[in-house]
């Protein structure tokens, strides 16, 4: 998410909001935001309810066998339609901000 913070002005310029979602409680998110200098919100899904709703749960992959989110990125437009998805098959490989920005630009160009 460091790379998203670095490109945040480009998301802002297009009116795109960026948020992170994990099972971390708000106080951990507050600490991490401060430490890493993130200015976009980190949302806390401590019971992994939304993570389940999006089917991005990684069962027992967290500390002490806790359920956590697998890495995944979704671009959702203003009518709540999913316009771009990335479900990685390698935990170390995440979406890059440039991919999402160009997907958004594509939508703008085609009007679709």
């Amino acid at each position: 998410m460091r790379s998203f913070q670095q490109k945040l002005s480009e998301f802002d310029a297009r009116g795109i909001r960026v948020v992170g979602i994990s099972v971390d409680p708000p106080h951990v998110n507050r600490r991490q935001s401060k430490k890493l200098g993130y200015t976009f919100p980190l949302l806390s899904d401590a019971k992994a309810e939304v993570i389940r709703r999006y089917d991005v749960l990684h069962h027992a992959a967290g500390p002490k066998g806790a359920d956590i989110a697998r890495p995944a990125e979704f671009l959702i437009d203003s009518s709540r339609i999913v316009r771009w998805v990335n479900l990685t098959d390698n935990i170390a490989v995440r979406a890059r901000p440039e991919q999402i920005l160009s997907a958004f630009n594509q939508i703008e160009v085609t009007g679709q």
Partner: protein, 142 residues
């Protein structure tokens, strides 16, 4: 005659450890994280140096030290290399399929969650007055 210091073994072992412990640093940059070539290169160079050192120790034992500790260091280094490869090429790829995740063109499920300041934030709030929202699900910092 005092035998020579077998520097190749020591340097090799240090490079292997550096290859392992620099993962956190290289993981900060997508170019060295997507495929950890920097770590793998360091591990490879380290092991090669160890093998050179071992050849010296066993080939010219009257000149170089390191038959015993060189063997031990090389065994540890190979174990660490194997462990790293297992993590990178197997463990990191054990990701759930997420077959029922929202697809392109589908409506994204709504939600309401607390942000880092304990304020409730919903998908609707995020979308009001904006063109789009990027949801980044991440494993967490714990």
């Amino acid at each position: 005659m005092k035998r020579k210091w077998n520097w190749s073994i020591w340097l090799g072992f240090v490079v292997v450890l550096a290859g392992l412990f620099s993962y956190g640093f290289f993981a900060r940059y997508p170019i060295t994280r997507d495929f950890p070539w920097a770590n793998l290169s360091l591990l490879g160079i380290g092991v090669a140096l160890l093998i050179v050192g071992l050849f010296r120790a066993f080939g010219r034992p009257q000149l170089y030290r390191g038959k015993i500790f060189g063997s031990i260091f090389t065994a540890i280094a190979l174990f660490l290399f194997a462990f790293f490869s297992y993590e990178i090429f197997y463990v990191l790829r054990q990701v759930p399929l997420s077959a029922h995740a929202p697809r392109l063109g589908e409506k994204a499920p709504d939600f309401m969650l607390l942000d880092q300041n304990e304020q409730p934030v919903g998908l609707g709030d995020l979308l009001s007055g904006s063109q789009a929202v990027v949801l980044i699900f991440y494993r967490g910092f714990w």
